[in-house]
Structure formats: structure tokens, C-alpha cells
């Protein structure tokens, strides 16, 4: 989990994936300075596929600079899509935030069945949600559409999630939209991952959650982004050995259940890198 007042993120590996020795196919990209976020979900057959596409996105953005216009983002995403192998199918969701003076403008590009939603924190209603489509990276050579959502005021929250979120909703007897409205739309954003984790633990202890998919969630309060943290984080999309390292090394270390501050990242770099978290 990543703690940041403007952003909270959760990445959970499905228990069946752990039991069978697969990696985690969900991968998250968080760039707080440049205010763009991405999520990808690939199958356990090649769980690195999600990481490959997000790493490639990072490389292209680094090479060309952060796009300032929607069509520039689309061009970047399509170049990243075009290089994805057919065998390495993955979902792809991107949200790039620009401050507008009266609020925020969010550029959203979405392929596959992960989703991006915008929820009104005041009314607790989902006001925008992407629809699943068949434009999976690997299968499609590009995405034709980009959506721009203009937000006025500071009462909106951006939610990005893999289809694993549907399993948490299932534990609660709800649809994903209901869960976003009832659970993710209020409270400090950095506390949401822990709350979601507690929901899973509770469901497991009650015997409701026998198995669930990998779960990847990013929750962002756009107006709270200070852009003063020069860090880009890619986590997940692990191969089996990285997942194994996380299960064995991290969970038996002093880092289990705790937070790693940005300042202490260098001294913990070995642990972080070994389990598939890249900070750059």
C-alpha cells in the first residue's frame, strides 16, 4: 500500500494465484509529480504483461515529455499499445490530471475491463464510469477514443480499479458502483486501501471469500495533488519469483504491515525491488 494524502492504492494477490505459484497480474503506475496514473490487469499465464505495458508507458513519457493535450496522450498510449505482443494481453487504464484554475481536467483512456470512475464526494454518486470494451492491449493495436472530464471544485474523487474490485463488492453483496459510492467516496483517501483490506480479511474470516481475483485499486483526490513528490512508482505485474519473494521475505520482515516513508525508500530498496516494486 502507498500512503499519500492525495492518493491511496491497494494491490492484493488472489489466494489461488499464491497457492498455484503465479504472479500478480495487476499492476499500478503512480506518478505524483506529473499527475498521471495507470492500471493494467493481465492474466496469470503471463502476469508480467501488465507491468510491461506500464513500464513502456513510463519510458515513452520520459523520452517525449509529459503530454499536455489529450491527443498527445492518445498518441503516446497508442505507441505503447502497438508494441504489446499478442500473447501478452492486458487491460489498460490511464488518468492524467491537469489543474484548470477552477478545478481539474482529467484525460481518461481505457481499454479492456478495468475501469475509471469519478465519484462526487458530496453527493456520493458516481458521475462518470468507463464501460468495459474489447480493446485489450495486445489484442488491439490502439485505442481510438479519449475522454476528457472537467471537474469544478474539490469534491470529486477519481477511482481506478481492476475487475478484482468486483470481488470485494461481491463480498458486500453490492455492485461495483454501489461499493464506490458507499465506501470509496468519503473519508481520507489514504485510509481507503486499509479499509478495503479489512473488508477482504473480514470476508475471509466469515467464509464469504473463498477465492478472489488479484485486486488493484488507485483512489485519487485530484485537488489535493501537490506535485511536490518527485517519484514514479510501478508496482505489481509480478512474475512468480517476485511474488514468492514478497510472500516469503517481506511478510517475514520488519516491513510487513508497516509503512515505508519516502525518505527510507533507499535503505529498503533491496526489499522493494525484490518483490516487484520499482521506484524511479
Amino acid at each position: 500500500m502507498v500512503k499519500e494524502q492525495a492518493c491511496g492504492a491497494l494491490l492484493v494477490t488472489g489466494p489461488e494465484k499464491i497457492r498455484c505459484g503465479y504472479g500478480n497480474g495487476d499492476c499500478l503506475l503512480i506518478d505524483l509529480k506529473n499527475a498521471f496514473f495507470a492500471l493494467s490487469d493481465s492474466a496469470e499465464r503471463y502476469s508480467r504483461a501488465s507491468r510491461d505495458i506500464l513500464e513502456r508507458l513510463c519510458d515513452v513519457v520520459k523520452e517525449r515529455g509529459v503530454p499536455q493535450q489529450n491527443d498527445e496522450w492518445l498518441h503516446v498510449v497508442n505507441s505503447v499499445f502497438a508494441a504489446q505482443k499478442y500473447q501478452h494481453k492486458a487491460t489498460f487504464s490511464l488518468a492524467a490530471i491537469r489543474q484548470t484554475g477552477v478545478g481539474s481536467s482529467i484525460c481518461i483512456i481505457n481499454g479492456g475491463d478495468s475501469e475509471v470512475a469519478i465519484v462526487n464526494k458530496t453527493t456520493r454518486r458516481v458521475e462518470y464510469r468507463t464501460e468495459p470494451n474489447m480493446n485489450f492491449a495486445g489484442r488491439s493495436k490502439g485505442i481510438s477514443g479519449v475522454m476528457e472530464v472537467s471537474l469544478q471544485g474539490d469534491h470529486y474523487r477519481l477511482v481506478m480499479a481492476s475487475d478484482g474490485l468486483a470481488d470485494i463488492a461481491r463480498f458486500c453483496g453490492e455492485q461495483v458502483t454501489d461499493l464506490v459510492e458507499s465506501f470509496l467516496s468519503h473519508g481520507p483517501v489514504h485510509e481507503i486501501p486499509e479499509k478495503l483490506r479489512d473488508l477482504i480479511i473480514s470476508a475471509v474470516s466469515q467464509g464469504i471469500a473463498g477465492n478472489y481475483d488479484d485486486i488493484g485499486v488507485i483512489v485519487i483526490d485530484p485537488e489535493a495533488l501537490k506535485r511536490n513528490t518527485d517519484v514514479q512508482l510501478v508496482m505489481g505485474g509480478t512474475n512468480p519469483s517476485e511474488e514468492d519473494a514478497y510472500q516469503k521475505d517481506i511478510r517475514s520482515s520488519h516491513l510487513d504491515g508497516g509503512w515505508i516513508s519516502m525518505e527510507s525508500l533507499p535503505e529498503n530498496a533491496h526489499y522493494v525491488a525484490k518483490c516487484g516494486i520499482r521506484v524511479r
Partner: protein, 387 residues
């Protein structure tokens, strides 16, 4: 409209393995297709039509022709699906050949594939047999083959050591083929010591189960020469589906092979196949077939097949190398297997067989076998056929 000359201009094979959990069926197909397109320096946009096949009852996928378009590149293109049992791969090649030879298409992509790890092969094969007359004594493929070997042994005095010699040959050849699933040399003693599956067939006498796909691109005369510097010209094809009931078979001989190869050689004007052929890629699912079926082809006299094998004539460097690729004993993605034989023969003619290349190949024969002892044959040549 006269018959057109047809050539193979590109081939592609997947990484063949017993289990490919890293890809689904469509992705397996795509892997072979991309390699064939790369080999021919073509794109999927250059393809006029697709012929595709597998044993669709193995994986239990209905409408394979429809389901596979995502991987085959067949979207909005003419597609034909063919399934003829173990001969599927070679029938696909014959089908693609007919489509171009008819003059109706210029460039055809032929795809054979199988994901055996997701199938119940023996259960599916057994459904082909008559429930009253055949199923009680034949289960899967191996029982009929064992009956064939036993009959041959009884008739000509061959032994399981003779069969083992064929297995040793093919498994040695497979070590030169990067596409082969099993690349490990064995000795005759090891073959004979391996578990007995159906007397006289030991484990190391038979083919494995494989996940794999093969794609072949064919083109008509006038186009083929522009794509490939040395196309593999298809001189002739012939096939025979003989009987429905296994009990009707002439065990110890393969009638369909004898008839089909006779027709094939007649079409091409071949009088002495042993002297005129340079290499054979034979669909030989178990070792004894390597003895019996070369007699049906006329390569060796009746009862003398084993003697010919022991002479080393069919080894690499011999008079008539058979299965430089390692053959079916080393790799068997069933719906692709016959097409792999065709592709390997094409590679020999095109001079692209690398470590397994037989020198100076002018004429090559590839075969397919399956179902109720059916046979497909294809003759490949370096020069254009005379017709």
C-alpha cells in the same frame, strides 16, 4: 481455367511443448502465423484466404474457424476449416493447394494447431470407433497400431528391437531440430526397457502429446517466385480414406499408403522412389510404422523394411534420410503434425532446414496418417512440376 502451379513460400512453427500454459489456443495459432509471415516477408493483409484445422473434438471448441480469427488474422477473409483426424495437418496442406491450384486464390495461409494439454485425446479418438464392433477392443490410437505391429511381426518375423531402431534414429535426428519437443538421444536398450504400453509398443516407441501450431503460406506461380528465392513447388498430392471399421483393415500393411503413394508417384512420373526421392518427412506416430509403411511406399520390398532401416540408409547421411526433423515421435501437436511434415519437407527443398538440412534436396515426400488408417501424401520439388 487450367490448373495452376503452387508453391510453399513461408513456414512458421511455434515453440512446441507438452504444456503451453503461457498461451491460449488463439495465441498459439498467432505465434505460428506471425513466424510464417515473417519467413515470407509478408503481412496478414497480403493473404487472400485461410485454411485452418485441428481436431476440434479434442479441445471441444465448436466453430474453430470462427473462434480462431483473432489469432489467425482471418477476420473478414474467406476461411475454410478442415478436420480429418490425424491427417488434419496434411489435409489442410492439400486443401490450401487445391484452393490455389484451382485459380481462385493467389496466396493462402494454412494453419494447423492443437493444444493437447487441454484435451482428452484418447477419449475423443475412441468415439470414432463403432460402439459394437470396435470400441471393445480398440481404445484410442495405440491399440490399432499395436495390432498392426503384431501382424507384421507374425508375418515377417520382425522384433521389437527392429522398431526400437527406428525410434533411436528419429530421436537422434530430433536433436538437430529446435522445434522438436523431445530432443534427447536414446539407445535401443533404453527403448526396450521403457514401459510397455500395448505389446509390442513401448513408451519410447510412440509419439508424445504436444501443444503446438504450424502455419504455411502457399502462393501461385508468378507470385511465389517474387516472395521466395527458392519456393517449394508442390508436384502432386494424393490421399486415401479406406475403411470405416477397424476390423476391415489389412493389418501388417497400410493399404491407404500403398494406394496413395502409387498415385502420387504416377502423377509425378516417379519410377523408383528409393532412388529418386531425396528425403521423406513421414507421419510416423510409432516406430514400427517406419518399417511397415516404407514397404507400402515401395521404398523397401515386403518384409525387408527392417533390414533397410538397420542398413542406416534412412539415417542422416544415408541413401534416403527419413524424418530429419525427428518426426512425430519427437513432437506431435496432432492437428498440426501433418502440416509440420509438409513444412519440414518444404524447408528441405528451400534449403532452410539448418542443422537438419539434407544436402541437395530436389524431391521430398511428406505424408499424413490418421483416423481409420488414412493416408495423405504430398510431393515437393525444387523445380516447377512439368504439368
Amino acid at each position: 481455367m487450367g490448373k495452376k502451379r503452387v508453391a510453399i513460400v513461408g513456414t512458421g512453427q511455434t515453440f512446441h511443448k507438452s504444456h503451453r500454459p503461457d498461451v491460449n489456443g488463439q495465441e498459439l495459432i498467432n505465434e505460428a502465423v506471425q513466424r510464417a509471415l515473417l519467413d515470407a516477408d509478408m503481412t496478414i493483409q497480403d493473404i487472400d484466404a485461410v485454411v485452418i484445422g485441428n481436431m476440434d473434438h479434442f479441445e471441444g471448441i465448436n466453430y474453430v474457424d470462427c473462434w480462431s480469427v483473432d489469432g489467425s488474422g482471418g477476420v473478414m477473409r474467406p476461411i475454410i476449416k478442415l478436420t480429418t483426424g490425424g491427417t488434419t495437418g496434411s489435409t489442410l496442406a492439400i486443401g490450401g493447394y487445391h484452393m490455389i491450384a484451382s485459380g481462385m486464390f493467389e496466396k493462402v495461409l494454412v494453419i494447423g494447431w492443437e493444444k493437447n494439454s487441454e484435451s482428452d485425446t484418447t477419449g475423443a479418438i475412441t468415439t470414432a470407433f463403432d460402439p459394437v464392433w470396435d470400441r471393445l477392443v480398440f481404445a484410442g490410437a495405440i491399440s490399432g497400431l499395436a495390432a498392426e505391429a503384431q501382424s507384421y511381426m507374425a508375418k515377417y518375423g520382425a522384433t521389437d528391437k527392429d522398431g526400437a531402431r527406428v525410434s533411436v534414429r528419429d530421436r537422434k535426428h530430433a536433436c538437430n531440430n529446435p522445434h522438436a519437443q523431445l530432443r534427447k538421444e536414446v539407445t535401443i536398450e533404453e527403448v526396450l526397457a521403457s514401459p510397455m504400453l500395448a505389446d509390442p509398443i513401448h513408451l519410447l516407441d510412440v509419439c508424445p502429446r504436444t501443444d503446438g501450431a504450424c502455419a504455411v503460406i502457399m502462393a501461385c506461380e508468378g507470385v511465389a517466385e517474387r516472395i521466395a528465392p527458392q519456393p517449394d513447388w508442390i508436384w502432386a498430392t494424393a490421399n486415401r480414406h479406406t475403411y470405416s471399421y477397424l476390423n476391415d483393415a489389412t493389418y501388417g500393411e497400410l493399404d491407404s499408403m500403398a494406394d496413395a503413394s502409387k498415385e502420387l508417384f504416377s502423377k509425378a512420373g516417379i519410377k523408383d522412389p528409393r532412388k529418386e526421392l531425396d528425403v521423406i518427412e513421414m507421419y510416423q506416430p510409432y516406430s514400427f510404422a517406419g518399417i511397415i509403411w516404407i514397404e507400402d511406399m515401395g521404398i523397401a520390398p515386403r518384409g525387408k523394411g527392417a533390414e533397410y532401416i538397420w542398413s542406416g540408409a534412412t539415417d542422416m547421411g544415408g541413401e534416403l534420410p527419413i524424418n530429419p526433423s525427428g518426426g512425430v515421435i519427437a513432437c506431435n501437436p496432432i492437428g498440426a503434425t501433418g502440416l509440420i511434415r509438409c513444412a519440414e519437407a518444404a524447408l528441405q527443398v528451400m534449403g532452410k532446414a539448418e542443422e537438419r538440412q539434407v544436402p541437395d534436396v530436389s524431391l521430398a515426400l511428406s505424408t499424413g496418417f490418421g483416423g481409420c488408417f488414412w493416408t495423405d501424401t504430398i510431393l515437393h520439388g525444387k523445380n516447377k512440376p512439368a504439368f
